[in-house]
């Protein structure tokens, strides 16, 4: 095979590799609330470091630490068999 043909093959292979790398996975769309506004980024939390931070810190992937979900009963009071269940939806405001 001539040198020109070898160079062409390598060029083609490099071009294919670049195309594959360029076709990266897109970030998932931001979830929206039913009214069209955005849901809060529940995974962004300020880091408790010594120097002050100005805003919410970078996002961390959920479930990345391997901890089990919080038991619901720890955020409840009373008899779970009571005739009435009241669920309070709040944000501490």
């Amino acid at each position: 095979m001539s040198m020109v043909k070898v160079a062409s093959v390598y060029t083609l292979m490099l071009a294919c590799l670049l195309v594959i790398v360029a076709c990266g996975k897109e970030a998932p769309p931001r979830a929206t609330r039913p009214d069209g506004t955005s849901t809060p980024q529940a995974s962004r939390v300020p880091q408790p470091i010594e120097t002050p931070t100005e805003s919410l810190v970078s996002a961390a992937p959920p479930d990345s630490t391997g901890f089990a979900p919080l038991l619901d009963e720890r955020r409840a009071m009373g008899d779970p068999h009571a005739p009435i269940m009241v669920i309070e939806y709040g944000d501490y405001q």
């Binding site: 720890r74 009373g78 939806y89």
Partner: protein, 151 residues
């Protein structure tokens, strides 16, 4: 007002008497309450130390007093003060917040609430019926007694 005045009465007359099972779920409206998401994390981290309700009440009281609500380092410091004053483990709280440990829990709460029609806080589901707003105890008595009568 609900946490300071109404909830204690509901607790005395309905929860402790076995009539009501009272549950909290997070619905952080960060667009209008910038500190809400961090507060939700702190409350869940407190729950992991079996200190949810004291922290829940402290967060509400602190917010009313203007002690936090910007989600910046000052809020973090304040919440760690609350943690210490409530006798909880500060180092564990710090780790819990840094680990983002309950992010998916909070997201799941929010998603579930939105699916059930919740749009603002406070909102309540009373045996599946949506109640929106912080009503006084007299209104809650009427709601709960009516539910009990239907059982």
């Amino acid at each position: 007002m609900f946490v300071r005045e109404t909830k204690p009465q509901i607790e005395e007359q309905y929860i402790k008497t076995g009539k009501v099972y009272f549950v909290h779920r997070d619905f952080p409206l960060t667009d209008v309450h910038p500190g809400a998401l961090l507060a939700a994390h702190v409350a869940n981290c407190a729950a992991a130390q079996n200190g949810f309700w004291p922290m829940h009440d402290q967060l509400f009281a602190g917010q009313v007093a203007g002690e936090w609500n910007n989600s910046r380092q000052s809020d973090v410091n304040r919440f760690l003060e609350y943690t210490q004053s409530l006798g909880l483990d500060v180092a564990e709280m710090t780790r819990c917040i840094s680990d983002n440990r309950y992010a998916s829990q909070i997201e799941a709460d929010f998603r579930e609430a939105a699916e059930k029609g919740v749009r603002s806080t406070p909102s309540f589901l009373v045996n599946g019926t949506l109640i929106v707003g912080a009503y006084p105890f007299s209104a809650w008595q009427e709601i709960l007694d009516k539910q009990l009568a239907q059982q």
